[in-house]
Symmetry: C2
Subunit: 262 residues, 2 copies
């Protein structure tokens, strides 16, 4: 087991793949690029690239994220390793082991990638067609993980701009989970968790013209939620999403993705 020899074995390529999410107008969107070459030419795929010899996978992920989004400063963004995908046949050309990362962006600028990405675009997560390679599974795994982490971490503020209202934060939760939440209770839970959000003194914003102006908040220093903010249990037998009529025409509840992989 100690016989290291740099070229005694078939070389592995090590890459990173990025599952980048944003919430815009109540819709969960993923950053995807269109492939120009075989295999999977014309299909959408996750952004990513090779890990360079002198950098860690996380450094590579952050570099790729900056290239694909065109953002100059990605240091404040949430970026977390998801898991590694290593099936021998996941890339038909050669052996590629890919370390997948999940990233969250606030209401997103158009990618307009400064990098080598052919055409990077935000696409709605629901109904995104079959992706190249095993990227469907990676994206679904990332979504599951984000949804689960919403329950017991302060992750959701990663989808929000620097200053946001509690209504916007709630909409982030509802979009990612695909369920409606009770506004008064959501409000109390968030405010009761010290360090989740902190008020911006005196500031308020008109939220779409009508209605009372909402107070503004910033993300706090906390990273964990004690106690957790559990999502409502899905109705077991009958998957009808909402028994009560929701007059809001915006986001369809999108009863997708309640199957954990792994």
């Amino acid at each position: 087991m100690e016989g290291y020899d740099k070229h005694a074995f078939e070389p592995f390529a090590v890459t990173v793949d990025l599952a980048v999410f944003t919430v815009r107008a109540g819709v969960l969107q993923a950053l995807l690029i269109e492939r120009g070459q075989e295999p999977y030419a014309g299909r959408w795929a996750l952004p990513g690239g090779f890990v360079l010899p002198a950098e860690s996978a996380e450094t590579a992920a952050r570099r790729e994220l900056a290239e694909e989004t065109g953002l100059s400063d990605v240091s404040g963004l949430y970026l977390e390793q998801l898991r590694t995908y290593s099936e021998p046949d996941r890339d038909p050309r050669m052996r590629v082991v890919s370390v997948a990362y999940t990233a969250l962006l606030p209401d997103a600028p158009e990618p307009r990638g400064g990098g080598d990405a052919a055409s990077a675009r935000w696409l709605p997560y629901d109904g995104v067609g079959p992706l190249a390679f095993d990227h469907d599974r990676i994206l679904a795994d990332a979504h599951d993980r984000v949804g689960a982490k919403f329950e017991y971490t302060c992750l959701a503020t990663g989808f929000c701009p620097p200053e946001f209202t509690l209504g916007e934060l709630q909409q982030v939760y509802e979009t990612v989970w695909g369920t409606a939440l009770d506004r008064p209770n959501f409000r109390r839970k968030v405010l009761a968790t010290s360090g989740f959000v902190e008020p911006v003194p005196g500031a308020a914003r008109l939220t779409g013209g009508r209605g009372k102006p909402a107070a503004l908040y910033r993300a706090g220093a906390a990273t964990a939620l004690h106690p957790p903010l559990l999502r409502p249990a899905p109705a077991p037998s009958q998957p009808s999403p909402s028994p009560s009529p929701s007059p809001s025409p915006s986001s369809a509840p999108s009863s997708s993705s309640e199957g954990r992989s792994s």
Copy 2:
């Protein structure tokens, strides 16, 4: 980004490292091997090895697990990918990217490795000296993850033999968490979660001579815990008698991992 060329880049070695735990006599133990060569000669390290060209990382992990433990059938064991460690300097000899896995064994046989392991042994997790490479961090990450998963999965039965008593299951929890639990409440929680354990009809075992014989249970089919079995909040070093919101923000007890990267 599409320029694949098998030898155009410095080759990466891809390995798996195994964090294998067991609970014996109320002590959490980890499977370690003693290194015979530089670097880190004489130090303890995690078992592991190269991923072969035709196998996935998970297959490699299962193969290594069988080799190091000497068990012929490792198909029923819990084995889960932990995360990937890819710092460029984590192995001084060459670039090695390692996919770490966590495995759980019931009260363990001596390793008596049939494989190439120099000397594999169970060592108590607490006070295990500095390990080779970054294996300290991997082992600590694995421990954190196992502890966290105990809260919302049925993982703990992976430490138990095929038939076990609730007292033994509770001792597994107490050993991994390092806290004492209330026996009546623990019992109720476990039995209230359908599919966590199922009784073995009519069977009972004398647990150490004295005391009433305990009923025996098998692991059930469930894999998730709803609602979760939360571990008691670590006692704050500063007991604040006031129920008013005293901002004690930090209180990150030990979690050496799993933070937001900034």
